[in-house]
């Protein structure tokens, strides 16, 4: 039982990381209809920013906060300078652009900080406490709670503030929002900025566990995409629950199913995905969309 609880908490922590990136992907997808394959790469770059600020003598929490702010600006700039041109065009081309962006960001991180593993300190103490005979690490619990809190904040922003309302309007129908006088371009920049900032938090939280490399979140990106499909891209809550489910299931499968083990646990979400796709093509929570011809 002890191991089980421990695995569930660790799974929820990793699931939160996948969930944060998945939510960032949904945030962009809802407003522009594109899938940003560079979302994980951008998060890694933010973690490197935090690392650099740390090297300049800033305390950890401040370094992370400044890195998050920089990421927000960078995300907005990427939307304005790079993606804007491809938004109205063919979504397949836009996907290729984000893949180019991923290559570019990996290249920049590799050039500046090398491809070697770097140690990144954790916000939370490394020790653990015991609940019902299970050793639960502060790190896992802290990661889970931080991301959960940010998600609640985001939800409040979307539901209760004017900016949130405007963002939802743009996501729903960019053209009629423009007719109603909303600054669609600026709102898209905010959407991309928020997504990048969310990714930055995830990157900084997971960097101590995975140790910092330019390809650190390639795996997490794959989990996040699986969560987006499982949850249905139209449902932010569904995506987060799918991410938690994936995190917990893969951890349990790694320990309790001998064939899978730790090296093949990445196959778990895709087996799940296969089954779901064959039974419920719109995702667990997503709505079936009807396309007008």
């Amino acid at each position: 039982m002890g191991t089980f609880i421990q695995l569930v908490v660790d799974g929820l922590a990793m699931g939160s990381i996948y969930g944060a990136i998945a939510l960032a992907i949904v945030l962009v997808n809802q407003s522009t209809g594109m899938i940003n394959f560079a979302q994980g790469g951008m998060a890694v770059l933010s973690a490197y920013f935090a690392y650099a600020l740390l090297g300049m003598g800033l305390p950890l929490i401040l370094a992370i906060l400044v890195a998050v702010a920089i990421s927000f600006v960078l995300g907005a700039l990427i939307e304005r300078l790079l993606m804007r041109r491809f938004e109205s065009g063919d979504p397949d081309t836009a996907v290729v652009v984000t893949i180019g962006l991923l290559t570019l960001i990996t290249g920049i991180a590799g050039m500046v900080w090398s491809y070697n593993n770097l140690q990144f300190p954790s916000l939370f103490p490394p020790d653990s406490f015991s609940v019902l005979g299970a050793a639960v690490s502060w790190r896992s619990l802290g990661t889970f709670l931080t991301i959960a809190a940010i998600m609640v904040l985001l939800q409040l922003m979307f539901q209760k503030t004017k900016v949130g309302l405007a963002l939802r309007a743009v996501a729903d129908n960019p053209k009629s929002s423009a007719f109603s006088g909303l600054p669609v371009g600026r709102l898209l920049m905010i959407g991309w900025g928020l997504a990048a900032a969310l990714g930055a938090v995830a990157g900084a939280l997971v960097a101590p566990r995975l140790s910092l490399t330019p390809g650190m979140l390639d795996g997490a990106l794959v989990y996040a995409l699986a969560a987006v499909i499982l949850g249905g891209a139209s449902s932010p809550i569904g995506v987060v629950f799918a991410a938690w489910l994936i995190g917990v299931l893969e951890n349990l499968a790694a320990v309790y199913v001998p064939f899978i083990g730790h090296d093949l646990k990445i196959a778990v979400p895709f087996v799940l995905l296969f089954v779901v796709l064959l039974v419920r093509p719109q995702g667990l929570y997503g709505r079936k969309t009807v396309v007008r011809v």
Binding site: M34, I35, F37, L82, R85, F86, G89, D90, P91, D92, T93, V95, V96, V97, I99, G100, L101, L102, T103, L104, I105, T106, G107, I108, G110, M111, S114, Y115, P214, G215, D218, G219, L221, V222, L225, A226, V228, I229, G261, D263, L264, I266, A267, F270, L273, F274, L277, L278, P281, V291, V293
Partner: protein
């Protein structure tokens, strides 16, 4: 220009040019050093891989990030078959059929979701493929990989001419695949793919099931990937989990876009890009390789979305503009995944 066009429309001129190209390709390796021949053979290998990607992405408009997986699968099947001393024709057949079946199964699920879901599902193939290849070490040789030598030149050809012999094998098989795909995309099947890419609703209203054609295109792409895997073993004679790593898949996709999506010539250019450009960038500075390739891809998307293969068309259009008027419909606008979609 019109005279050139007239000349080109003459069947004998075209055949003559084709014969000349074949002659040059056949004679070239005798005048080049082994390293260059090896590089040319590798270009052939990856041109086939890019061609496979083009079938699903360039012609059918479905982004696939998993093409390298089928290359790796074909390579592993080839290595296993050769080491078990199976007949080489059987090995080739299996190296095509097994990736084809794998592609079919993946496509059955992935093509269910419209739009970008294929991209999101296929990204998993290389990511799962690498640990899987390490795990199945009885068959794959684990992390060390496995080698298979079966392409040493026979005695009548000249025992020290391995590089030319391998070049000829690649040339023959790659040429056959290119001709097959060329005919495929120009026929009824190709037109069906084009309409699925253009507008799925129109396709279904014409009795063309987008789902079925996507699955078929993906299966064909996987089979061509298997062929390129076989060719990979012909030239490299060694494969490891690294062969099907994720960044190779990204490079393959970038090569396809840079060469020219939805274009036979573009596939060849893409193969050349895949092999030759990393050599150049590694020469400059290995740590800069990813950066330079990212920049090249983004620049191409901005200024030449049809890839290098569309360059002659773009130049022709520029000249026509200068002349004032002329045939304005000659150059179709292109996007990174082929000709422009109109909605």
């Amino acid at each position: 220009m019109p005279k050139m066009k007239q000349l080109w429309s003459n069947r004998w001129v075209r055949l003559g040019v084709a014969a000349l190209v074949v002659l040059i390709l056949v004679l070239a390796p005798w005048n080049l050093d082994p390293a260059t021949n090896q590089a040319l053979a590798r270009v052939g290998v990856f041109a086939v891989a890019v061609l496979g990607l083009n079938v699903i992405m360039g012609y059918t408009g479905q982004v696939s990030l998993g093409q390298i997986f089928f290359l790796g699968l074909g390579a592993y099947v080839t290595a296993y078959g050769v080491n078990e001393d199976w007949n080489i024709a059987l090995v080739f057949l299996l190296a095509v059929v097994i990736p084809g079946i794998a592609g079919y199964v993946v496509a059955l699920a992935a093509a269910r979701l419209g739009g970008l879901a294929i991209a999101m599902v296929t990204i998993a193939l290389p990511i799962i493929g690498v640990p899987l290849a390490k795990r199945l070490s009885d068959v794959t040789g684990g992390s060390q990989g496995t080698s298979a030598r079966f392409t040493s030149a026979p005695d009548w050809f000249g025992a020290d001419l391995d590089d030319i012999w391998q070049y000829y094998i690649v040339l023959a098989i790659a040429a056959a695949v290119f001709v097959l795909v060329h005919n495929l995309v120009r026929g009824k099947f190709g037109r069906a793919l084009a309409i699925v890419k253009e507008n799925e609703a129109v396709a279904s209203s014409m009795g063309i099931s987008p789902y079925r054609y996507k699955v078929m295109a993906f299966t064909i792409a996987a089979m061509i990937g298997g062929v390129s895997g076989f060719l990979y073993m012909v030239v490299v004679q060694y494969t490891s989990p690294e062969t099907l790593a994720f960044h190779h898949s990204i490079n393959l996709l970038a090569s396809m876009v840079i060469g020219g999506a939805g274009s036979i010539a573009g596939s060849l250019l893409g193969g050349a890009y895949y092999v030759l450009v990393p050599n150049v960038t590694n020469e400059i500075d290995p740590t800069l390789t990813a950066l330079i390739q990212g920049v090249i891809l983004l620049v191409v998307l901005f200024v030449l979305p049809g890839g290098i293969a569309s360059l002659p068309r773009v130049i022709r259009r520029l000249f026509q503009k200068k002349d004032g008027g002329g045939d304005r419909t000659a150059g179709r606008p292109t996007t990174a995944t082929g000709t422009l979609k109109t909605h």
